[in-house]
């Protein structure tokens, strides 16, 4: 898992419910990212963080929130789940070289 752990692996939510997707890295790197991948599409950046306490929006941040209280953890929060948030969510950390990122195994989320 390239040092990136994501939980849960799968989740089904009802419309309007909330949940937190967990992401933990074991390499103590400052830069971390959240992406979503819709069927047949590429990954789109939701939020990223360049260190504890520092986060910023990516391309598709609406409906999500993040926090970064420690270097290791970068949780993604969905407050009011909508069917449009049905997707596979990937957390990643910067490798430290050549713009390369290491990705976690993903969380498959279905909102019905």
């Amino acid at each position: 898992n390239a040092g990136v752990t994501q939980t849960p692996k799968f989740r089904i939510l009802k419309i309007g419910q909330s949940m937190t997707l967990q992401c933990t890295q074991d390499m103590n790197h400052n830069y971390m990212y959240w992406y979503r991948q819709d069927p047949g599409m590429g990954l789109k950046l939701i939020y990223y963080s360049v260190g504890a306490g520092i986060t910023d929006k990516g391309e598709v941040p609406n409906g999500y929130n993040v926090s970064r209280s420690t270097t290791e953890d970068f949780p993604l929060r969905l407050e009011l789940a909508a069917p449009s948030q049905t997707s596979v969510y990937f957390c990643a950390r910067f490798s430290g070289r050549d713009h390369e990122q290491y990705f976690g195994p993903g969380t498959r989320l279905t909102v019905t």
């Binding site: 590429g42 990954l43 950046l45 990223y48 360049v50 713009h99």
Partner: protein, 117 residues
């Protein structure tokens, strides 16, 4: 506006032959390009990259070519093997106003490569 495009949704190749995957981009600020490989139910894994100051980078069976004037890059896999069957994503990174991209990547839609034995 899709800044990174992979116009071929799929590619089928015979084992031992060459696989060529293509990628086009529109943002002139992109200065680093990467290829990722993804198997079902797994996260993407890094394959090979190229800086905009180069036009070719090789790593074993994998070679990436960059044509900046055409805003086009390609990934060549020679020889192709059945284990190469996966989805391949092209990704790009652009320097921001402060001279750093913070590693943010923009991905293409992906190309499904199938290598037949």
């Amino acid at each position: 506006d899709q800044q990174v495009k992979q116009n071929s949704p799929s590619l089928s190749v015979q084992e031992g032959r060459i696989s060529i995957l293509n990628c086009d981009y529109t943002n002139s600020m992109f200065d680093y390009f990467l290829w990722y490989k993804k198997y079902p139910a797994e996260g993407p894994t890094f394959l090979i990259s190229i800086s905009s100051i180069k036009d070719k980078n090789e790593d074993g069976r994998f070679t990436v070519f960059l044509n900046k004037s055409a805003k086009h890059l390609s990934l060549h896999i020679v020889p192709s093997q059945p284990g190469d069957s996966a989805v391949y994503f092209c990704a790009a990174s652009a320097r921001g106003l402060r001279g750093t991209s913070y590693g943010k990547l923009t991905f293409g839609q992906g190309t499904i490569l199938t290598v037949h034995p």
